[in-house]
């Protein structure tokens, strides 16, 4: 394990080291002090443990890597990630997993508004609550919420799935509750299992997705927008 300490190294030094490291390397980052854009653009199977909280865009646009933040994360955690895993032990701010194409994000605390906005294939699991407008225009992937969801959940959603165990304040335009089939239960179980989440009761989850009524413009729907 290599220790990278913000008290001794700059953000550029640390990111350059991570991006240029060999496959299967293991790093521990100390004293992150809420730094932005930490551990971004990684293109290899490496493991990074961040001891402390991070700022904006931690683990953005990564492929293959496993990033664990022992603390909380600022806005845009894992934005546009392609694959790999992110695990945050605390809370995360707005736009977690925005436009993520693949991989998974596990948040042990709460996620703020617009969690999973424009997601394109990523799986996001939030053990706490999520804020308003989560999964806005979500295209593909799964957002799993153990707690409650804020207003306008899944507004203008496309083909992504949302699973909620708690209460939903309100659904957004074109988002509806859908039948939880065996296939979807199995899919949910796989998502949780892949993220090493074990303390759950599948029966408590409800499924939400697109009614697909806004997929092609129809003037009679104008009042919905």
């Amino acid at each position: 394990m290599t220790i990278l300490d913000f008290n001794k190294l700059s953000l550029r030094d640390i990111n350059k080291t991570l991006q240029g490291s060999d496959k299967n390397s293991f790093f521990s980052i100390r004293n992150p002090k809420g730094s932005h854009a930490l551990a971004v653009g990684i293109n290899k199977q490496i493991t990074v443990k961040v001891v402390g909280s991070v700022g904006y865009y931690c683990a953005g646009m990564n492929k293959f890597s496993d990033i664990k933040v022992e603390g909380s994360a600022g806005p845009g955690l894992g934005e546009n990630m392609m694959s790999g895993n992110i695990h945050v032990t605390g809370d995360v701010s707005q736009y977690a997993g925005a436009s993520g194409h693949g991989g998974s994000i596990l948040v042990e605390g709460n996620a703020s508004s617009r969690c999973g906005i424009s997601m394109k294939g990523v799986d996001i699991i939030v053990k706490g609550n999520v804020g308003h407008m989560s999964a806005f225009m979500a295209q593909k992937g799964n957002l799993v919420i153990f707690g409650n969801a804020g207003h306008a959940l899944g507004d203008s959603i496309y083909e992504a799935n949302i699973y909620v165990a708690g209460e939903v304040a309100s659904l957004g335009a074109d988002c509806i509750e859908k039948k939880m089939t065996k296939k979807h239960l199995s899919k949910l179980e796989n998502i949780l299992s892949n993220a090493n989440v074990s303390d759950y009761n599948l029966d408590t989850f409800r499924r939400f997705g697109s009614a697909r009524s806004l997929y092609n413009f129809n003037v009679d729907n104008a009042k919905i927008y």
């Binding site: 293109n43 865009y57 646009m61 413009f217």
Partner: protein, 438 residues
């Protein structure tokens, strides 16, 4: 018999034939009109400016003997590998999806032949485009359709698109009929559905956030490639200042004559500012920050010829960008397809239903048969010819003004034909020393 005086039919300026037809169309269809292109209104524009040329107080340079530099470097503020362009005319972002793969390839070929850059668009980077573009700018758009870090690292520059001159504050729509399998796959959405391009980025809002977003992009690309920020010409003084303060290497300002793949006619014609009115406030913002020429300014929106290029540069821009004009060079609205345009209820020169995918010229379409009408090699050659002509025209004017570099042109080389243009461009009304508003 005494003749009766007859009153001529009274036509209304308020309710003219076009207005009436739009009212009837709205009443019949129940939906606003969507179209491509930019503003078609008779706006104040670069035609309202004239160059003064040299005489006794300034002497000209010889047209075919003395050199006039056209090269420009874009993005050397923070990036280690700025763009080195042979000419100050770039090709603007236009998406694969809105355009055929052949058209994107032709744009890349044409730009590369003359040593300038071309730009991706919503929907990501195609291999045809990357393969045929020596210098390719990769757009980061609100939709993030097709966005991936591998392509980001293949780019020669990154352009964060905040806005577009045709629709400041507006998103876009690619209608379902243009969403074939390839376009759908690149955008991670089902085939055949309308694809909304949002008006805001999903993971940041104001300038403070954008500064951090720029930091992230630089960290991902190792501070190698320039970061452009493209804004719509609506509040150019403030927005250019904020973009520069946020750390942009290059700011692109797109006036309302700038085209779009598709948006509402009412939006195109009623939101934003004419390109002419955007240049001086943008330049002033950079000058006041001490960043003029350090953060390069690209002006776009209705640039058509070398005179427009020279005028934009004289007002303080470092380069211009063309979109609609590049499509016309490829063959858009070409009279040879007049019969096909008539079948679509329009004429060559007026066709703007780019969103419907029925373009007879094979440019704004995903229809395989139509797209085959455009030969990318020939299209590229035509674009290169056009870019060369524009450059030579701009050089002709610059030499006549005594300038050995296009960027040595200055506002003092210009006068305005109208009070409006004088006020917008900050140059004297012709024959006077009056600059309205100063």
């Amino acid at each position: 018999m005494k003749r009766k005086s007859i009153t001529e039919p009274r036509t209304s300026h308020t309710f003219d034939a076009y207005t009436n037809s739009e009212i009837r169309r709205a009443a019949e269809t129940g939906i606003y009109d969507i179209r491509g292109g930019g503003s078609k209104r008779n706006l104040p524009n670069f035609d309202d400016l004239l160059f003064l040329g040299a005489s006794i107080s300034r002497y000209p340079l010889e047209g075919y003997r003395e050199s006039c530099n056209t090269k420009v470097i874009l993005g050397d503020r923070f990036s280690s590998n700025p763009l080195n362009l042979e000419i100050p005319i770039t090709v603007a972002g236009m998406s694969f999806g809105a355009l055929s793969a052949q058209a994107k390839e032709a744009l890349g070929r044409g730009a590369s032949l003359v040593g300038t850059s071309t730009t991706t668009g919503d929907g990501g980077m195609t291999k045809e485009e990357r393969g045929h573009s020596k210098q390719l700018v990769y757009q980061l758009l609100p939709s993030r359709y097709g966005m991936n870090p591998d392509d980001l690292r293949k780019a020669d520059a990154i352009e964060i698109v905040v806005g577009q001159g045709a629709k400041p504050g507006g998103g876009g729509m690619l209608l379902g009929q243009k969403i074939n399998d390839r376009v759908a796959e690149m955008r991670t959405l089902p085939k055949g559905i309308d694809q909304r391009s949002p008006c805001r980025h999903p993971d940041w809002t104001g300038p403070d956030d954008m500064e951090i977003k720029i930091l992230e992009l630089r960290e991902i690309t190792g501070w190698k490639v320039p970061i452009f920020v493209k804004i719509a010409g609506s509040r150019p003084y403030y927005d250019v200042a904020l973009a520069a303060k946020s750390g942009a290497d290059v700011v692109v300002v797109d006036g309302m004559q700038g085209g779009t793949a598709a948006t509402q006619e009412v939006f195109i014609e009623n939101v934003g500012m004419p390109t002419l009115a955007c240049v001086r406030p943008a330049v002033r913002a950079l000058q006041e920050l001490g960043l003029h020429r350090k953060v390069q300014l690209i002006i776009s929106g209705g640039i058509r010829n070398g005179a427009d290029v020279a005028k934009a540069l004289a007002l303080g821009a470092d380069a211009v960008s063309i979109g609609s004009a590049a499509l016309i060079a490829l063959g858009d609205n070409d009279p040879r397809y007049q019969k096909d345009y008539e079948k679509l209820g329009t004429t060559a020169g007026s066709f703007d239903d780019w969103h419907e995918g029925l373009d007879p010229a094979g440019i704004t379409t995903q229809d395989k048969k139509l797209a085959k009408r455009l030969d990318p090699k020939l299209g590229g050659r035509r674009l290169a010819n056009y870019l060369n002509v524009m450059t030579m025209e701009a050089q002709t004017i610059a030499r006549a003004c005594g300038k050995n570099d296009l960027r040595n042109l200055e506002p003092e080389d210009l006068c305005a034909l109208t009070v409006e243009a004088a006020a917008m461009a900050g140059v004297p009304l012709a024959g006077t020393n009056w600059i309205p508003g100063t």
